[in-house]
């Protein structure tokens, strides 16, 4: 009983602490917005940075990206736009601003074309985010159980048959939705990409300083991370070219 009380109070305190720091983040966010409105981007950026550790999501990263953009720090702004896209890949404002920021960097990469279906699938997969899919999961689970109950207690044969097959199909959808939620979560937290921060980087053929330079990248370019070997990352750019970059030249999205 004592243990339970201790546990409960600890839980409550932690919930309250999160709540408070979130309030703090919101205050800082609003202050930053006021400064941004006046064109004082330096102050706005400081407020956003103050808020950043106690929040996450599209809002804070989008505004950070904008503040960095206005101050001319394009790689930082691209990093934050990419982070914002992790939370909502189909957000038009973020996509638009990212495209403008990308126009200002040195590297223009020929991105391999994607089919309409691929684009639609990606948008669909990440549109709801892990939480949206999770809520659908719960709804489907309840529906399928109700249908199974209908199967057990249904009056007529047709009703019972409907209950059985309906329940099975709903179960199938439940599994699918769960997979989608998991993939959305992976996209948000596990999938690795990075932004180049050094003005000019020689991309190497091997994770070793003296190896052959395969190609050159410049600040602001996004790379996907395939693997890590000690202090080196194996990266791939939009055109499909691969190579190794030293960790200090990058910042992970």
């Amino acid at each position: 009983m004592k243990k339970l009380i201790v546990f409960c109070s600890a839980f409550l305190i932690s919930v309250l602490a999160i709540g408070q720091s979130l309030d703090y983040a919101r205050d800082q966010f609003s202050l930053g917005n006021e400064a941004y409105m006046k064109g004082d981007y330096e102050t706005a950026l400081n407020h956003y940075l103050e808020a950043e550790p106690s929040t996450e999501g599209l809002g804070i990263n989008y505004n950070l990206g904008n503040a960095y953009f206005k101050l001319g720090e394009i790689p930082e702004s691209i990093l934050h736009y990419e982070r914002a896209l992790r939370f909502d890949p189909s957000n038009e404002d973020v996509q638009y601003n990212l495209s403008i920021a990308n126009d200002l960097i040195v590297d223009k990469i020929e991105v391999l074309p994607k089919s309409k279906l691929q684009i639609w699938w990606k948008t669909f997969r990440y549109s709801l985010g892990p939480d949206g899919w999770a809520e659908i999961c719960i709804g489907l689970s309840l529906t399928s159980v109700l249908l199974f109950l209908l199967y057990y207690f249904g009056g007529s044969k047709a009703l019972r048959r409907f209950g059985f097959f309906g329940g099975l199909v709903t179960c199938l959808f439940l599994v699918l939705t769960y997979t989608l939620a998991q993939s959305a979560e992976n996209y948000r937290y596990a999938e690795k990409s990075a932004i180049v921060f050094t003005d000019k980087v020689d991309v190497k053929s091997e994770p070793r300083g003296g190896s052959v330079n395969v190609f050159v990248l410049h600040a602001g370019t996004k790379v996907d991370i395939l693997s890590q070997e000690g202090e080196w990352y194996e990266v791939e750019i939009g055109s499909g070219a691969q190579g190794w970059i030293y960790q200090d030249e990058l910042r992970l999205v």
Partner: protein, 590 residues
Amino acid sequence: MKKTGRHNWIAIVSILCFPLFSWGQGATLEATVDKNPVSVSDIFKLKITLSNGKGSIETPDLNDFQVVFGPSRASSYRIVNGRQTSSMTFSYTLRPKETGTFEIGVAKANVDGKILTSSPIKVKVVEGASTAASGRGKSSGGQKASPQSANQNLMVRTQLSKSNVYKGEQVVVTYILLSRYNNIDLGDIDFPTLDGFWTEDFPEQQTTWEPKLEIINGVQYRKAILRQQILFPQRTGTLEIKPLTLSANVNRSFFNPGENLSVRSNSPKITVKALQGGAPKSFNGAVGSFDFSASVDKTEAKANEAINLKVKVTGSGNLKLIDEPNFQFPEDFEVYDPETNDRISVSTGGLRGSRTFQYLIIPRYPGQYNIPELEFSFFNSSTGKYQTAKAGPFDFNISDADGNVPTAGAPRAKNLVEQSGLDIRYIITDANVLAGPRSQFFGTPLFWAGTAGPFAMLFIFLIYRRRKEALDKDVRGKKKRGAGRMAQKRLKAAQAALKSGDSQVFYQEIFKALYGYLGDKLGIPIGQLSRQRILSELRSSGVNEAAVNDVTYVIDTCETARFAPVTETSDEVFYKRTAELIENLEGRLK
């Protein structure tokens, strides 16, 4: 006629007299030597001259030298172009005593109670033979004169007006020729190429000797300016101006082929500072000190009628490097590239003047328009700060062909909306969109409870139901299996009653045995047991009519026996018959 002559005389006299009262530029005291450095075996002259003043001269201490001759005193008095000058000179002829550097101290003069002093002279005494005394001396060595001595009598210098400047700030560079030769023919002059500078040359001039002599280290030189330029540094850091080389032939005369000399100038360095950060948005590279003005020739015009906007930058600085300012014009104005007009002069003060940009503007649609305040920013090199000058704003009333100015709300000709500026979209302003870090619902225990909970409950419910069903089934089975035994027990009780002769109890027991047996066997709860129900259940479970009749008979008999004694059959026979019936049913009701 006579009158006129008199007037002329007065004029002439006043012209003659007036200059008598204008003494040069005040008294000066100068000390000069005729060569420096001097060879130890040589002699040289020291002159101390008091110009334009009268007073006593106190000569310096000359203990470091042997006075060969002097002091000799000379006075002169001249009127040149109506200007009166006088001078008094003390001359010494001196011989050094040993090598080294010696200083000839200051000479002093007391003129009208004011003490004038000359600057001290450092005389360097070196080893070696006698050198050419001066430019005017006989050149015994001819062309073989050592460069050392030539450099002393003929020099070129590069002078800068400033040596520590901001990038883009103007610096005047002057190339000077200093000579002690009377007779000099200038040959090739190789001016340095200036890397890292944008240059503006002074207008070409004939090289002439300056009226005033230049004294360097106590030695007098004639001075001429070879060229002047204005430099605008385009790079930061330390920039060096390469030396100028000049070749000349000196002392040529009818009998003498002269002497060819080649001299190099010094190479001064300029430290160029970068402009500070935080330049205003309208800063366009202008460095210096400027005024800014703008004007339009009309503010009321008809659509498609040209308007002139004149933007003028006046001042001193890198005027020629100023590009057209970037202004924001209304979208419906067609603006042509501006025409640039310069009125710029080059002088020792630097580049000075004005640059005018003339914009031709054609408003395409009637309406009320506004050109917002025009801004021009420059870096003020004297204060080291950016300055922004403003002009305008200008309001225009553009009328249509009939002279009507539509008001703001009135409909007007439509034109395609064009995107003219590219900028990022605005921020998110609602702070409530923020969520705590890792506040994800997916994967939390609550999520799992929500997803798996309903199924778990379904399973628990189903298992519970099945258990209960199984339990129920079990009770009936037991009863069914035990039905025969129960009947046997009851029959035994009936037999006991038969032996004791209690007929009432006997029939009761028989009735109970059969009813209980059939109830258990057919799975009918005790409350629902009735003759009717038993018979229908028996028929539906396929028992033949004889057996059913037997059951009816036994039940009827037992019910009759409750009220009246049974006569038609003996108790023993009835017992046997019932036992046989139960046995028979046991075989059929499996």
